[in-house]
Each structure stands twice: as structure tokens, then as C-alpha cells.
């Protein structure tokens, strides 16, 4: 169903669906900021910023609860069908994934707070910073698919997750090398490895969001061989 659907006869139903999409966008903006700030706090060893990110996660959690409540209320009152039903159910999934991304940012910030005040060598954290940028781009594109109804964009986001995974594996090997080179790097590299793992998980949640958008648009799930990056997609 690629054409733009007609508006609902009941205007308040239309308004409620639009509000759901708006809340998802707002929540998306909050977790994007959380990922940016958590990475910035990590590389700058900025404990104040890290504390702010960890504290702000409650706002993300509250927004997730609000989206859940609105979605459940709409299911109960409107008895949505077809594309409306898919959008409302997908909103619940997307809000859960965004909340998890927020948790990943919070985890990075908490780890930052446990790290010493001493700044790390740039060569240690540059890989994590790059990974953060890549994951942020994934989250941004995944959120775009929620509003754009672009099936091909969903597929692109899912496929690009392979690059995030590959970067994580390469960082893992890199940190291992630093640790073997100089045991004094072990503490910092272990912290950074956990942060990289958190970012990798955030990337997985971005993929889930794109998959949810694909479901809203097509009513189907992405083929599993596509998720595994086996088949070519235009």
C-alpha cells in the first residue's frame, strides 16, 4: 500500500495517530542527544555531562510509558485495523527500542563516571567516537523511516548494521592489541570495549526500528536472509 492513505473520517483518530508519530520523533531526538552527549562525556572525561545523560534517561523512560499508554488506549477505544493497527503496534516496539538505546547511552555515561579523571590517549578513543557517529547516523536514518514510509530506506538501514558490527569486531581486535602492547592500557581499553559493545547494541535497536517501519508499510517482515546481509537489494 504505497500510496498516501486518505484521512480518517473521524478527525480525532487522525490527530491521535499524528500525536503518536510526534512523540516517537521527540523521543528519538532525546536518545540521539543522549548518544552524542554520552560519547562526548566519555572522550572528554566530562563527569558533569555524564551525570546529566544518566539523569535525563528518566525523561526517555517517561516518554516510552506515555507512548505505550496512548497506543493501548487507542487499541481499546478505536479498535484499529490494517495499516492503523500496524502503526500503533509498531509505535510500541519503536518506543521500546528507543528506550533501550537511551539505556545504552546511560550505561556509557555510568562507565565514564567510574573512569579516572585522566584523559585517555586519542588513539584509544577515536575508534569509539567513530563508531558513535556511525550508530548515530543509523538511529537518525531509522527514525526517518518511521515518518517517510520508505521501504528501501528501511532495507538500507538494516543492511548498514553489518558495517557497525564489523567496526565493533575491528575495535575489539584493536583494543586487544593495545592491551597486549602495554598492560597499563587494560583498564581504559576494557571500559572502551564495553562502551563499544553498548553502541553496537544501540545499532541493533536502530535496525529493529527500521524493521518496524518496514512492517508498518508492507505488513510483512524483512526476509531473514536480508537481515543476515546475504541477498542483494536494490
Amino acid at each position: 500500500m504505497s500510496q498516501t492513505p486518505s484521512p480518517h473520517i473521524v478527525q480525532s483518530y487522525e490527530d491521535e495517530l499524528a500525536e503518536l508519530v510526534r512523540l516517537i520523533s521527540e523521543m528519538g531526538g532525546m536518545v540521539e542527544l543522549a548518544i552524542i552527549n554520552s560519547t562526548m562525556a566519555l572522550v572528554r572525561v566530562d563527569h558533569d555531562l555524564a551525570r546529566k545523560v544518566a539523569g535525563d534517561d528518566k525523561k526517555v523512560d517517561d516518554l516510552q510509558r506515555l507512548i505505550d499508554e496512548k497506543a493501548v488506549s487507542m487499541i481499546a477505544r478505536r479498535q484499529p485495523m490494517a495499516a492503523d493497527l500496524r502503526r500503533i503496534v509498531a509505535s510500541i516496539h519503536v518506543a521500546t527500542d528507543l528506550e533501550r538505546i537511551g539505556d545504552m547511552a546511560k550505561n556509557i555515561s555510568r562507565r565514564t563516571l567510574r573512569m579516572s579523571d585522566k584523559r585517555m590517549a586519542a588513539q584509544l578513543y577515536s575508534g569509539v567516537k567513530h563508531m558513535s557517529e556511525m550508530v548515530l547516523s543509523q538511529i537518525n536514518k531509522a527514525l526517518d523511516t518511521v515518518t517517510s514510509n520508505d521501504v528501501e530506506a528501511c532495507v538500507r538501514v538494516v543492511r548498514a548494521d553489518d558495517e557497525v558490527d564489523a567496526l565493533y569486531m575491528s575495535l575489539f581486535r584493536e583494543f586487544l592489541t593495545y592491551m597486549m602492547e602495554d598492560p597499563r592500557n587494560i583498564t581504559d581499553c576494557t571500559h572502551l570495549l564495553f562502551c563499544a559493545k553498548n553502541l553496537e547494541r544501540a545499532g541493533d535497536h536502530a535496525t529493529n526500528i527500521a524493521e518496524a517501519a518496514y512492517y508498518v508499510e508492507t505488513g510483512g517482515n524483512l526476509p531473514s536472509d536480508l537481515e543476515a546481509g546475504i541477498i542483494e537489494v536494490s
Binding site: 500500500m1 492513505p5 480518517h8 473520517i9 484499529p80 485495523m81
Partner: protein, 283 residues
């Protein structure tokens, strides 16, 4: 989109040059023959066409919902299945409708016998102004289905039990059918319809005049009756269609727009007209 090419065309269609549109393609179950087959069915009222080239199969032990806006032709089609349209002088039906492969519009068909095989329940409960017992006994009696009074009584009780009404009326079978509540009257009409042991039950908005409890009882009954009958139900309630039927057909302006598994129709319809209708959009 259903692909007609993946289904073997029924033999009787082989000689026809007309290709049914893909959305109207029947979905035959493998190895199971449809109870009712409608092909190229058109209905006219005073020359004005109300139904256009409908191809539809009703499978045994299946509840088929017909949905669509008022005036879309769903009730007209339902009434074709037991030739109720014969009672309307200005109504003309073309095309073929078969029951177990036999053309029900053939001259050799006894319409009274056909209606015993294809029972009908209407929107408004319409018990006869007779006793509860007589309401149910009427059909079997005129069709000569029982050989003595005891057998007739057994059939009446069995029908009332299957319609889920017996326990409520067991001690007042001689009371008037019209003294019952709306939900009970509707179940009495269902008991009356199944007393003649039909093979197919047609229901035209059977629960639209009932409260939610009575509606649930009727829906539970439909689910139980499915074990023995094919059921075609016309309903304006999307939720009811979604709850009770296995297959759903959507009509719009006299045309069958889409038919498919109920789950597919209500979660991921193929046609945008179906989508607009079931989601309450301006089509």
C-alpha cells in the same frame, strides 16, 4: 495480490473466455470442494445493476463474512444464495450459482427444498406469532422431516439446544415466541433455521439489534455451528467479521473488491479501497 494462475481453474470455467479479476479469484482449499460457487453473478433491480460479475466460493465448515458500505450489494448476493431475490418482482439475477455443483437457478430446482438446505437468519428477529415449540417445529413439519410427534419433539429440543436457547425456555415451550427477549428471539430464529438441518446458514446482520452479551452468545453459536455448516454472514461490524469468520469478502459499489483470509484482510489488505473502508477513511 492473489495470483489466479497459482490456482487450478475450476473445470466448469474452462470454456469461458472471461477471466475473473485477480482480487475476486476464489481461494479453493486443496481437495475440498466449495459448498456454494458463484460465478459472474450480476443482480439487477428494475434494470439497474446492483452487483457486478461476482466470483465467490463458500467452503464447507467455514464462516465467510461479507462486508462493505450500505448499498454495496452484499445482502443482494446473500439473498441470491437461497433465491430470496425471487420474491422481488423487479429483481433479476444472471450468472451461475451452484450448491454442491448443482445450479440452484436450474428449472428443476425446488425452491422450498433449496431454502431448507440453505437456511437464513435476518437482521431483526422475526419469530412467528406462535409458540416457541411451533416456531421450531414449523419447518420440519412442512418438509415432512419427522415420522411422528416424538421424533419432532426430539428435533425441536435438539435444535433449541444447539442454538443455546433450550435451558432458558425448557419450561415454557408453549409460550409465544414473541414473548422472548431480542437475543432469545434471534436464537429462536437460529434454532428454527437449523431445525430443517440445512447445509448452509445465511445470516444478514444477525447481531446488529442485540446487546453485547446477546451478541457474544450468537458469535459463540456461530463458531459452534461451523463444525456442521458453511456460514455466510453479512455484517457492518468489522470487529464481528474479524472475530467470527475465517474468510472475508469486501464489496464496494456492487463489486467484489477483495476476498481473503480474515486475518490478512484486517491486518494487511491488498486493495486500498478495503484499507480505506476498514480503517474508517474517506475513500
Amino acid at each position: 495480490m492473489l495470483d489466479v494462475n497459482t490456482f487450478p481453474a475450476p473445470e466448469r470455467l474452462a470454456g469461458l473466455s472471461k477471466v475473473p479479476c485477480a482480487s475476486a479469484a476464489p481461494v479453493p482449499e486443496t481437495g475440498v470442494k466449495p459448498k456454494i460457487s458463484a460465478r459472474d453473478v450480476c443482480v439487477f433491480y428494475s434494470g439497474k445493476q446492483a452487483l457486478f460479475d461476482v466470483d465467490l466460493d463458500v467452503m464447507p465448515n467455514e464462516v465467510l463474512s461479507l462486508i462493505g458500505p450500505s448499498g454495496c450489494g452484499k445482502s443482494s448476493l446473500l439473498r441470491c444464495f437461497n433465491r430470496m431475490n425471487d420474491t422481488i418482482d423487479v429483481c433479476a439475477v444472471t450468472g451461475t450459482i451452484t450448491l454442491d455443483g448443482q445450479d440452484i437457478y436450474d428449472r428443476s430446482i425446488d425452491v422450498v427444498e433449496l431454502r431448507a438446505r440453505v437456511g437464513m437468519v435476518f437482521q431483526k428477529p422475526n419469530p412467528f406469532p406462535k409458540s416457541i415449540f411451533e416456531n421450531v417445529a414449523y419447518g420440519p413439519r412442512i418438509h415432512g422431516m419427522t415420522k411422528d410427534k416424538q421424533e419432532l419433539e426430539e428435533l425441536v429440543v435438539a435444535s433449541l439446544k444447539r442454538a443455546g436457547l433450550f435451558d432458558e425456555v425448557a419450561n415454557r415451550l408453549e409460550d409465544s415466541g414473541t414473548s422472548l427477549s431480542g437475543g432469545q428471539q434471534q436464537r429462536l430464529c437460529i434454532a428454527r433455521a437449523i431445525a430443517t438441518q440445512p447445509e448452509i446458514l445465511l445470516m444478514d446482520e444477525p447481531a446488529s439489534a442485540l446487546d453485547p452479551i446477546a451478541t457474544s452468545i450468537i458469535e459463540e453459536l456461530i463458531d459452534e455451528l461451523r463444525e456442521n455448516y458453511a456460514i455466510v454472514i453479512v455484517t457492518h461490524s468489522m470487529q464481528q467479521a474479524a472475530r467470527v469468520s475465517q474468510k472475508t469478502a469486501f464489496f464496494h459499489m456492487g463489486k467484489l473488491i477483495e476476498k481473503g483470509d480474515t486475518e490478512q484482510i484486517f491486518t494487511n489488505p491488498v486493495d486500498s479501497k478495503t484499507q480505506d473502508y476498514i480503517t474508517g477513511r474517506i475513500g
